[in-house]
């Protein structure tokens, strides 16, 4: 690149010299035109003007090559260095940013995976919890129903037993009252005689 730049600079210098020469020559041509010269001599510089101008040009060129070119070259090299460093820094920044991006993407993927795992576990736990809660609620409901049925049966049985007992009490009280109030001594005597007949042994 540097070589290309030098080549380009050399060409530029040559072009510049040619241009300077033409610049110096132009007034001469103008003057020549003014003299209204004809033929090839019309385009050729006058030697008396051309040589000093050439000398001046060469001196200027020498000064430029000696002093201007190194300065110009230094500026270019500094500029090149700056650009190169900037490019290197940007490259490093790009690499760093790519690294960070890759790292970030890895972490992002990892975070997404972790989040997916957490969500999955949470769903499983929630499902298990829901199933357990449902089962427990079902079990408790069944227990409550069974207890209620038992209590109902128990109360029903107790009520029936109580009713039976009441009926029995009333019936027996009525019987006892009939015996007490309506039985004569003769009736009691007959009962005693019947008991004597039915009574078992006492001397077992």
């Amino acid at each position: 690149m540097k070589a290309q730049f030098k080549k380009f600079a050399t060409r530029g210098t040559a072009a510049c010299a040619l241009a300077s020469a033409m610049a110096f020559a132009a007034p001469t041509l103008a003057f020549a035109a003014e003299r209204e010269t004809a033929g090839i001599s019309a385009i050729l510089p006058a030697m008396d003007e051309f040589i000093p101008m050439l000398v001046a040009f060469l001196i200027l060129l020498a000064i430029l090559v000696k002093f201007g070119w190194p300065m110009f070259n230094g500026i270019l090299e500094k500029r090149e260095t700056t650009i190169r460093e900037a490019l290197e820094k940007s490259e490093q920044a790009r690499i760093e940013s790519e690294r960070v991006l890759a790292e970030y993407q890895d972490k992002l993927i990892e975070a997404r995976q972790e989040a997916a795992t957490i969500i999955s576990e949470a769903k499983q736990q929630a499902e298990a919890q829901r199933a357990a809660t449902t089962a427990k609620a079902q079990e408790e409901a069944e227990k409550i129903i069974a207890k209620a049925r038992e209590a109902m049966e128990s109360e029903k049985t107790a009520a029936i037993a109580e009713l039976q007992a009441s009926v029995a009490d009333i019936a027996c009280a009525a019987m006892a009252r009939v015996v007490q109030e309506d039985f004569s001594d003769a009736d009691h005597r007959r009962l005693i005689e019947k008991s004597i007949e039915e009574i078992g042994t006492l001397n077992a």
């Binding site: 019936a171 009691h188 009962l191 006492l202 001397n203």
Partner: protein, 189 residues
């Protein structure tokens, strides 16, 4: 203070023998038996009476008066005997003394004492029927101790030698009541 079982048994025997001698001397052997049976029941049913009998701070005359009030028709000698037992803090032995007395009477006179409870007093015909019924069972002369108890409602209860046969109407009605109470409805369970 706890006493030896053998000593208590000897004490009961002594009380029963005294009573038997008393009954023989007064010709009231079976009467004493019946009265002892009644006293036993009454004393058992009334803890207050037991307390009065056993209370030393109450003089003997008062206790005799109380006993006479409670057991108006009873033998005076028997009442004094029971108070004597109470003074010796042996009133709790009265049931066992009565039992032992009956045993001694039965052994000595070769009889079987039957407690017969009825709603109405027995007449001679019924007594004879009962005696005949149980004489065959025991092979002995039967002596009846009669009790009138309206709670029986009808029929009779007989007890002898610690065994009891219940043929009273109250018990029959109670059995019917129990059966009626326990009958299953046969409905949906």
């Amino acid at each position: 203070m706890p006493r030896n079982r053998l000593l208590i048994k000897k004490e009961i025997d002594a009380y029963a023998e005294v009573l038997l001698e008393m009954g023989e001397s007064n010709d009231s052997v079976y009467s004493i038996s019946a009265q002892l049976e009644e006293m036993k029941k009454v004393v058992n049913m009334h803890p207050g009476l037991r307390e009065v009998l056993a209370n030393d701070s109450i003089d003997e005359n008062t206790r005799v008066t109380v006993m006479h009030e409670v057991f108006k028709e009873f033998d005076v000698e028997l009442i004094k005997f029971v108070i004597f037992m109470a003074e010796r803090r042996d009133i709790a032995l009265l049931p066992r003394v009565a039992e032992r007395y009956d045993q001694m009477v039965q052994d000595k006179f070769d009889v079987a004492i039957l407690d017969v409870a009825t709603v109405i007093p027995l007449d001679d015909e019924l007594r004879e029927k009962i005696k005949n019924k149980f004489a065959a069972q025991f092979g002995k002369e039967i002596v009846l101790r009669e009790h009138v108890d309206a709670w029986l409602l009808g029929g009779m209860n007989v007890r002898a030698n610690g065994r009891r046969v219940d043929c009273c109407t109250a018990t029959r009605i109670e059995r019917i009541r129990a059966e009626l109470s326990s009958v299953s409805t046969g409905g949906e369970r």
